[in-house]
Symmetry: C2
Subunit: 398 residues, 2 copies
């Protein structure tokens, strides 16, 4: 605990980096009996932290709590639960979030103000706090350096599989690791059926560097994963640095592996989105600005008619153009090309190559919209709109 270099643990996800323990338990919040409560502890020697929260103005109690907890750029633990979002629960809900932090702190010998809280599940119902606090006690007793996988599993809601990623970088001063876990299977923009992400690194990083790199990584990855255009009240991305590798890292070194881990997790989220049959990368190129490219890509990604067409394996470039045309981006309609999986079915705003040459039978779809207005580009990842999406979201309450 004195800042000596430590090698990565062999754990996965949030425990891939040294200095972290984690676990997941069944607190009994889910009717299914599946694991539903996770802990992550940063053993140090550093306890630097940064966070990005939902921009939704309706914010769940754990977001309110965690925003305050991370304000001093320092966290020592995170407690997460599935099976209840603790959103729209008023003052009693905030008290519950506070209790979760305090109980975790008690169990681990920490201050409550150093514990972040994340919740996901149904909005508008109180958590059964007796089950939660009992779960926290049991989780605290079984934290381990190989517990990342269990933690990733305990935060799942309609996710069909846990989501973990890690990268190890080696510089002159030695090796260090960035890892993380994520959950969220619908309502990603970032979105409901909430996206929760905990990232960890054993690098020694200044808090302001952590914060800047996390914002940039989120901007390029989670912010551009737009499954269904819906934004959650609970979305949270946390980054904790233990310094356990002893390797000091600046922004220029941290940015790439951190963004890679975030991109990996974002891709896993989209690949596992509720009821989706296709993962669609909407790339807009030839834009006047990156903002234009993102605006156009997001407009296409949010067109229900486009999303239904992909589900029906129809390279419907008319629906793409109709979505492009709703934006304020710089372009001339007769300069736009649209390419589905390599076939340019629309050229110069009109009929292009034979659409029967497009094969949309696979999971991955690449849509390229070339605006002919500049050199900027951006990609937004989304899903198709399917019968299963409707089934999951009409029969499952979130």
């Amino acid at each position: 605990m004195t800042g000596q270099p430590t090698t990565a643990t062999g754990g996965t996800g949030v425990t891939a980096a040294a200095g972290f323990t984690a676990t997941g338990v069944t607190a009994g919040l889910k009717p299914s009996g599946a694991p539903d409560l996770a802990l992550v502890q940063n053993l140090g020697p550093d306890h630097a932290a940064a966070a990005v929260f939902t921009t939704n103005r309706i914010q769940a109690a754990p977001v309110t709590w965690s925003r305050g907890a991370v304000a001093d750029c320092r966290l020592r633990a995170v407690v997460l639960n599935s099976g209840g979002a603790n959103a729209c629960t008023g003052a009693p809900g905030l008290q519950d979030a506070t209790t979760m932090a305090a109980r975790t702190a008690d169990a681990l010998g920490l201050e409550a103000g150093d514990v972040a809280v994340c919740s996901t599940g149904l909005i508008g119902t109180r958590l059964p706090m007796d089950l939660v606090t009992d779960g926290i006690d049991r989780a605290a007793a079984q934290l381990g350096a190989d517990g990342g996988a269990a933690a990733a599993r305990a935060i799942m809601t309609t996710d069909t599989r846990p989501k973990e990623a890690a990268r190890t970088a080696t510089g002159a001063a030695g090796s260090w690791t960035v890892g993380g876990m994520a959950k969220g299977a619908g309502m990603l923009a970032p979105g409901l059926a909430t996206m929760l992400v905990v990232l960890t690194t054993d690098a020694r990083v200044e808090p302001e560097v952590l914060r800047g790199c996390l914002r940039e990584a989120c901007r390029l990855t989670f912010d551009r994963a737009d499954s269904d255009g819906c934004m959650s009240t609970n979305d949270t991305v946390l980054l904790l640095a233990s310094g356990a590798s002893g390797v000091e890292v600046g922004a220029e070194e941290l940015q790439a592996p951190l963004t890679e881990v975030c991109a990996d997790l974002a891709a896993q989220l989209i690949d596992d989105a509720e009821g989706a049959a296709h993962t669609i990368a909407v790339t807009v190129a030839g834009a006047a600005t990156e903002d234009d490219a993102v605006e156009v890509a997001r407009a296409v990604a949010r067109s229900n008619l486009f999303k239904c067409a992909v589900y029906g394996r129809d390279p419907n470039w008319g629906r793409v153009l109709a979505a492009v045309g709703t934006t304020r981006a710089a372009f001339e309609p007769d300069q736009v090309d649209v390419t589905f999986n390599g076939v340019t079915v629309c050229r110069g705003g009109g009929i292009g190559d034979d659409r029967s040459g497009v094969d949309l039978s696979g999971r991955q779809v690449t849509l390229l919209v070339e605006l002919g207005a500049g050199t900027a580009s951006a990609t937004v990842w989304t899903n198709d709109l399917t019968h299963d999406y409707v089934t999951e979201n009409s029969e499952y309450s979130t």
Copy 2:
């Protein structure tokens, strides 16, 4: 034809007002053999006209043509076809639209510049012009004062029923009528599977009054009918005044019946939206401004998770709040009430009355969001998101 008062014809829809003839024929554009080409003629004595077109920057050829034709505030006929949108068809498509106007003008003894053109159907394919021109000739030969119903039927695409409305007003100077027809069954915002509306009146109205009243009526009705958030390349609303009643009408007299006819048609569009199981009126009250109310109502109306919940008969106020929270409207989260069909399931941003008291089994759903921030209000009409919506839009190309 000299401005003498004339009584309404007994026709319906666009022929409810005196001075108009219409018809619908099968030109052969639809594989089904259903009627697919309509004509409406204004016999005068006046030929004042106003129009509102899609704000989509990708505009179909008939929109480009009609925008020019109505620029002088004068139209004598409208030719409409289903079975092909003539959108994204470049210069040849514009030539086709021009040919449709010219052929109609020839058949009726008019100038092409007095003929508006409307098309709906698949984007990105040329119209079979030999069939179109033959259809125009046959339609011109059978125009009748009772032809409104046939015209309304000929412009249907995935609509399950034709849509007509009319109102007759009586003032000191006599009676006059406003009537109209509409089509559009999906992608209404106003939207693809395009919304086409032709309105007629036998009142004598100054062109600038027509234009102002049409804009205001559209703002309050069609602009707030948002079935699936998608905007078409072809949306067109035309208003033609014949003056055949001889009754001069100003803006204050015209506005109310015109808005009523538009509201009637908008309601029919939403009631017949592709695959919808519910018609949802999203009313936002207690807003600081009308713009705030519209922004919030539209955000809720465009939330796929909310729309799926209604389909599943789930009064999921959490999804409503999550959508409200994405807006810039003035409100405090702990001041918001949400009421489904009369039951206030969310009160003060938290848990309200028992949600099991909400019955969502009927077609009509009334959602009231009270922001507690002022006195302005607005209603946006939308639909639920259903398996049938996905089926229609993944198997049917528009």
